[in-house]
Symmetry: C2
Amino acid sequence: MSTPELVALPVHTPRPVPPGMLAELKERFGDRCSTALVVREQHGRDESPFDVPPPEAVVFAESTAEVAEAVALAARHRVPVIPYGVGSSLEGHLLAVQGGISIDLSRMNQVLRLNAEDLTVTVQPGVTRMQLNNEIRHSGLFFPIDPGADASIGGMAATRASGTNAVRYGTMRDNVLALEVVTAAGEVIRTGTRAKKSSAGYDLTRLMVGSEGTLGVITEITLRLVPQPESVSAAVCSFPSVADAVATTIEVIQMGVPIARCELLDANAVRAVNRHDKLNLQESPMLLMEFHGSAASVQEQAELVQDIARGHGGQAFEWATTPEERTRLWTARHHAYFAALQTQPGCRTVTTDTCVPISRLAECIGQAVTDAEDAGLPYYIVGHVGDGNFHIAYLIDPARPGDRVLAEQLNDRLVHHALSLEGTCTGEHGVGLHKQGFLLDEAGAGTVQMMRTIKRALDPHDILNPGKIFGP
Amino acid sequence: MSTPELVALPVHTPRPVPPGMLAELKERFGDRCSTALVVREQHGRDESPFDVPPPEAVVFAESTAEVAEAVALAARHRVPVIPYGVGSSLEGHLLAVQGGISIDLSRMNQVLRLNAEDLTVTVQPGVTRMQLNNEIRHSGLFFPIDPGADASIGGMAATRASGTNAVRYGTMRDNVLALEVVTAAGEVIRTGTRAKKSSAGYDLTRLMVGSEGTLGVITEITLRLVPQPESVSAAVCSFPSVADAVATTIEVIQMGVPIARCELLDANAVRAVNRHDKLNLQESPMLLMEFHGSAASVQEQAELVQDIARGHGGQAFEWATTPEERTRLWTARHHAYFAALQTQPGCRTVTTDTCVPISRLAECIGQAVTDAEDAGLPYYIVGHVGDGNFHIAYLIDPARPGDRVLAEQLNDRLVHHALSLEGTCTGEHGVGLHKQGFLLDEAGAGTVQMMRTIKRALDPHDILNPGKIFGP
């Protein structure tokens, strides 16, 4: 087993905010520039395990012009700028590893323009996905990307998020049409248009999506929406083994069934959500599925999938027919993380995020299970298996450093197995601080060098979320 | 009306190939480095109207290593390199405006690896789309992107091509999973993996797709495939006016019907293809549609669309039920360009490529028709109207310079109208030489500056297809 990836952070040189700049910020933003420790700490910690001093100040921006002003000021003083949405990122994206200021975008939370007739909506970056869907519900449209957390749209774009609906509707890569971005110089540019497709020059929209705040601060996002399906059905199906559930998934995808969600929960995950959400799901590996379409098409899809599941030992579907039952199931699925944390008070998790070609999924997940069992660390698995993406979360006791090392070793081993299967180290969480070595292993030195060249060209003073994606 | 876009080319400084470099190429590639005028001319002209001297030499590469060698040599001598597939690009992409060498990739035409179980295939850049579909037919899968011409996959990736199936299956942006690319330094890098999604760093795949050979030479492409639909039906429906056909399209898209193709031909286009392909289509505006899915779903879609069409004066569908009839119809559609050229022997066309949000399509196309009628130039319209993308082609007599000026004025007016409707100057043909001013109008100076910054960073000596997308 190779050395585990980044149990400790690489050394970054702090870049202090000069008193003059802080004074300027205070003067310009008044109360909306905070240096209170509690505010800074709230903006300097995410779900990642790293312990890093918080940013020196937090600016609560209320407009694109304000973001541009703050970035221009930071550019003048060569001070790091870290965009902040709701803080739900998982890979240390918002940690102030080189100090600097956090720009909180949560007050930029307006749905600016719904163009229902074009199936598009333009929003500010602090709009959350649930807020968006509430505000557009009357239109008969919805925004399908659902990473679980009620993340901000800006953050979802910055990390190229996906989640449970991606198997049918794609990821943020596929659903962002246009952006407004504040550059490293504090200038405001626009990428893309509301047209559905374009060949007009470099695809800067896609370059910004997934750039984790390192190439620009996203201040406006135009999204593609989809019509609410005429009919929605959700079902759970239990299997004798994870392998059987995965085999079912592979066949469903290979047959081209347009399934809207196809999520795996292993027995450990089911056990945890049963306890947390007071459900009575059978505590064996389970697929949680959703079908969207016309009534006839949903029935057709469901029958086909039931046939396939039966061939792999799947039990009869249990249907969640009402919207309330569906919501209850999906809420439980989204609680898996917190539910698992509660199984061992005080524990934390190390969560993997590999994604492999669908035909390799059984091998990848099978080996991960074997390794986890052999290691004796508690774990659970949830997965967007229809995309070949799954998360195995190892539960660790922060008081026992050996736990973390062991979990990182398992993660390392899983990532390299996934790479050997032509997969990726991160299906949806991003690189952040935690996967920089993995990125190098995956993409190769020449490709990462090209990324660095772009970063240097667009942000020559390295002020935009420095230390993320690439090391210092 | 503003000055028409680029009736004449901007002045480029030629960059001669030093005799020493030519000798090295001859030594390395033997007969596969040609300086014969006929070969050079074949590689120095496309469907665009510009008259430019051909490249000084053409290298027929047979492997990635050979491409890398040729580019490295060109890099050493600061000589332009222009990738060549089959020469079907429309915007002057392959013209040697600054001289240099053409690298012909058509001999790199192997389907390298079909992974049917993952719905992916990896090909060399010279594979054409028809060849690909022939070679993978046995797998039950197909590659849906169909720009009309039997273009090379490398060229389609480089121009972010789309075409008739994009309304359902997306464009090259959506269907390229991974690339192998030779950089400006002659190094070989890989972007992406065979996993369906990833958040591993900058999306270099999408940056290369649509970069028109200016950021790298694409030497290998991994594509997403889709299962051949269980059932396929094609139909034509005639309408009293273009406006009625467009209104039908808008409603179909807004209802979320997963129509696979939705093409408009105006009466002029129908007349031309009737004559060229000996068909008896009613010579009025027409939608040519295709439905993919299960038998039940195809029927459901078709019934819905017929209802909508009826509401806009559409006549009963005429069905093309056999594969032969379907092929005949689609071949006719793809012949529209050549069919129209034959209506006026010796004429050429100026073809527009705007794409607008679907709700703006009626206004955009209506104004274009009015302007063309008022100008008195012959024209025809074909359009991927389901995407909001259409081509109005003005027929011009090359012997009358006024024709070209008039056509460019109409194009200019149409583009600016489309931009005012939040559309794009190019839905699928790319910028090339012809739309550089339009790109600036569309994206803005700051955004184009960011593109230029990336270009300069990745190709500091400007050897990769110089003069395209941006001026000298």
